[in-house]
């Protein structure tokens, strides 16, 4: 039981980071129909920004904040330069994102090399809940993700732009006809989505090493979460994240290690066969 609880704590912490990436995917897809495969590599860039700043003597917290802001600015540039023209053909946005993967990975290899690097974080130590050990970094990650997603959900439901975003995600053309500024919303979505990935990248450095090809490891599970929740559905993404974290923890705890991913994938297949449009996705007749 203790073993299961320990696995769950670790699994939910990692799942929380996946949720941030999945939120980024689902937001962009919900409004624009673009599947941005480059999120994994944007996370990698954010992690390297944190690494570089910490190496230059800047505190981890400030470095993380700078990385989030830098990624938000990068998101704005990407929207303007790379993605805006693909809005009428979202499948081209997919091609652009794959091109970006190659560009970002090549740039990372040239700048930082292929060696795995670790970031010294101040989040050391742990607390004990019975026999379960909860690391300070686990708590920090979970706390940050809970606060950020709460703020994000409140913004979506209460703020004018948030409600406009939900309307435009339902029907972009109709929202445009009703006076919703979809061009500005697209910009906001890209900035917010990239900032979320930036935050995920900063948090990842608390428990993982950083290297140019780390993006692919996060991409698959984040996409699975986004799809399980129902693409474009923020609440579904949170539930999907929790489900995947629990399934992954169970698999890693009780199955041979080499088959644990297979168990998660099989669960995803069964879930998609049961709910082909995701857990909270709408069924179309």
């Amino acid at each position: 039981m203790v073993y299961l609880a320990q696995n769950l704590v670790d699994g939910i912490t990692v799942g929380a980071i996946y949720v941030l990436i999945a939120l980024s995917i689902t937001m962009v897809f919900g409004l624009t129909g673009i599947v941005n495969f480059a999120v994994g590599d944007l996370l990698m860039v954010a992690a390297f920004v944190v690494y570089t700043l910490v190496q230059h003597g800047i505190s981890f917290y400030l470095a993380a904040a700078i990385a989030v802001v830098a990624m938000a600015v990068f998101g704005l540039i990407l929207e303007r330069v790379a993605f805006r023209w693909t809005l009428t053909r979202p499948e081209n946005g997919f091609v652009v994102s794959l091109g970006l993967i190659l560009i970002l990975e090549a740039a990372a290899v040239l700048i930082w090399g292929t060696t795995s690097r670790s970031v010294p974080t101040p989040l050391q130590g742990s607390i004990h809940a019975g026999q379960v050990i909860i690391g300070t970094s686990n708590l920090a990650v979970l706390g940050t993700v809970v606060v950020v997603t709460s703020v994000f959900l409140t913004w979506l439901s209460r703020a004018r732009d948030g409600r406009a975003l939900r309307a435009a995600s339902e029907n972009r053309e109709a929202a445009q006809l009703m006076g919703v500024p979809t061009v500005r919303l697209t910009m906001i979505v890209f900035v917010t989505a990239t900032a979320l990935v930036g935050l995920a990248g900063a948090l990842v450095t608390t428990y993982s090493t950083v290297q140019p090809f780390m993006g692919a490891d996060f991409l698959l599970i984040a996409f699975v979460i986004a799809i399980l929740g129902g693409m474009g559905n923020v609440l579904g993404t949170l539930i999907g994240g929790l489900v995947v974290a629990v399934v992954q923890s169970l698999a890693q705890g009780y199955l041979p290690l080499q088959w644990s991913d297979g168990f998660v994938f099989a669960a995803v297949v069964l879930m998609l066969l049961w709910r082909p449009e995701g857990l909270l996705g709408l069924r179309h007749g």
Partner: protein, 349 residues
Amino acid sequence: MGSRWRTSPVTGWLAAVVIVVVLAVALPGFTSPGFLTVSASLLVTAQLVLSVDLVFASIKQMSLVHAALMGIAAYLMLGLQSEQHWSFWAAFGASIVGCLVAAAVIATFVFRASGYYFAILTFVISEIIVLAFNNLTGIAGGSGGLFFFTTGTLFGLKLGSESVIFGVICIATLLMFGYVWLIRRSSLGRQASAIGDNEALARAVGMPVTWTKQAIFIASALPTGVAGALYATSVGAIQPSLFDVQLGVAAVLMALLGGSGYMAGPLIGAAIYVGLPEVIPVNPEVGTGIVGLLFVLLIRVSPEGVAAGLARLVRLLTPRKKPPSAETGAMVAAPALHQGPETNLRGVR
């Protein structure tokens, strides 16, 4: 994107030109194994992209499992020869049948989902297949994979020879392009295209939508199986990572980049993705970055893919026929007017 097949003479000629260029580039390289290896890899990849595009351009579903299906064919090809001592041709046939059977099994349930849910379902199935390659060490050799250099012959020529297997790959590529061309023109291809255009309408008029989707998916596995079997033969050593979902995603990318629905599209897409990094004279990292940048620029210049851009260019450069003068026009129009009512009323009678 319209889902009608782009089978205009222009694109057909473009396909032929690209094949000739590939051969022309490769033939002088019979003495250069590196050149042959790249050309063989390019053509095999083009077959994989052809399969993916058959599904994508017709029923509008993005399959990411075809790379893993190619892996099944490749593993059967080498495994049956090395472990069971089958002959080259028996293993070749069995690997294609195995690939088709795997596609049929997947097709039975995968069409419960559609759109991006279909894509992620195929994504996950692909991961499961590759995981099986990795973990079934007794059958598939685990992460180290399988290796076997064929001893089969064709008309007395050793298939183990790089130039002979390259020739076989060239012929197989032409045959597979012909096969897909025929599928597109068949009633199955036309029904699939209609479903891709408007699934609800196709269902409403009584088309067997799910059956057609399954049939086109299974039909698309033939070039994939041939590609897998020939690729395994040409390289002689395979590992699970060669057929992971990255190749599946890359195949979709190549289809979109080359021009989905164009016969020349898979060849152009594969030439850019596989061939270009080999000819850019810089270090691999910079080369990869340049290729990525090219993807973005090419799709910006020609959003429907490079084949569409080339076809447009050819149309622009081709002198148009002058419109008939008033007198000639009247003379030409007269028989048409005479035949008109019979033709026009055909659907009303």
